[in-house]
Symmetry: C2
Subunit: 213 residues, 2 copies
DNA sequence: CCAAACCCTGAACCATGGTTCATTTCATAA
DNA sequence: TTATGAAATGAACCATGGTTCAGGGTTTGG
């Protein structure tokens, strides 16, 4: 036996991987996926470009991990709200409002996740991400319908419309002229036949404060 | 004097330009802007790649012309409906329904115009195109509000949400699983506080039959 | 201290696809 | 028919940016 990865080395490797991912994430945050060229990521992480390929099979694979890391955070927030207590309609309100206000706040990041032109596997991943949004909305709409809280409607289509309305309202206004989150969620909620809530409701507060960067 | 463009030549030049534009348009229709490489356009038009540059300054300029040619057709349809007779709310219904059904029908073309990843000047043009949609919606909403036909709301944001909901509902469903146009426009119209109309209304019929292809 | 296995480096490599331009072809007018 | 200028050609050019790999260093076990 001549070589065996010792604990220290393993830790070092993991640290490197993390450093690379962090560098990529920072670049994406600052300038979108487009700005995260392999050269830029390597420079920011303090390694050579070749090193990146020891940790990720390709640029696409690297950026996919970045996309997932970012989107999972966002996604689980919404899922938490959706799975929380309260009537379906109220949860739907909270989820939509949470999505809207979070997107409005982190407009730059939201742009990368939702609107920046992406190709290949990244485009696929975004589609899946959006579909997960729509699935949450759809389930809540159905629950609300079952509970008689909202009128009859095509839940599937309505959910998809909601999932698209928010991002696009964001991008149409341009990066400097961000829309008001309350007005946005109010408009979107009307699609589900709901009036906006006036109070900035309970479950949101705790969930929408920190980072969003 | 030794040379002067004769009428026949001028006509030939114009014909060439048209042929190139048509070739590009056909490629865009079949496979999106992405598929309209200069080589492909030249081949389809039956000219050499270099020739393209005698008629268009760059690929971007060529595709911009294609985009405008396509989008202008769509745009003026909506504008005609918006400027037509009838109460503001009814026109808003018609415009939204016309947009939705037209997009659902020509899903492939709608994808290129509304959702395909585009860069640079083309992305700008699309943004402008979408904003023109939103502007139409916004004006009608304001008119409807002034006439007391709909409740108070943020017309600007609502219009932007409408403009985005339709394309994204389309893309979320995938190219084979297109949503129902009626359900889609119903959902979207609810954002403006309108119930869907059941009858497939007057002004639409004549305007949504032909090509779209 | 040494050999083996592994990791890092970064300049060279390569694929893609838009753009150019020397050359050829064609239309015009004398 | 021929000189002239315009138009078309298409192979060569080039920019971009992801990917590779031979060379140099580092860690491990003996």
């Amino acid at each position: 036996m001549a070589y065996r990865k010792t604990g220290k080395v393993v830790a070092q490797l993991e640290a490197n991987r993390t450093r690379i991912l962090d560098a990529a994430r920072a670049l994406v945050f600052a300038g979108g996926f487009q700005a995260a060229s392999m050269a830029a990521v390597a420079a920011k992480a303090g390694v050579a470009t070749g090193t990146l390929y020891r940790y990720f099979a390709s640029r696409e694979a690297l950026l996919l991990d970045v996309f997932r890391a970012i989107s999972d955070v966002e996604m689980s927030r919404l899922e938490d709200i959706a799975a929380g207590p309260g009537l379906p309609a109220a949860r739907l309100r909270d989820v939509v409002h949470g999505f809207a206000s979070r997107a409005v706040r982190g407009a730059r990041q939201a742009y990368s996740l939702l609107a920046e032109p992406l190709d290949g596997a990244l485009a696929e991943e975004r589609l899946a991400y959006r579909r997960r949004h729509a699935a949450i909305f759809e389930r809540l709409i159905r629950e609300a319908q079952a509970a008689g809280e909202v009128a009859a409607m095509d839940a599937h289509v309505t959910a998809a419309a909601i999932a698209g309305a928010i991002p696009s309202a964001l991008t149409l206004h341009g990066p400097d002229n961000v829309p008001d989150a309350d007005a946005l969620s109010a408009a979107v909620l009307r699609m589900a036949g709901l009036d906006p809530h006036t109070d900035t409701s309970s479950s949101l507060e705790e969930l929408s404060h920190d980072q969003s960067a």
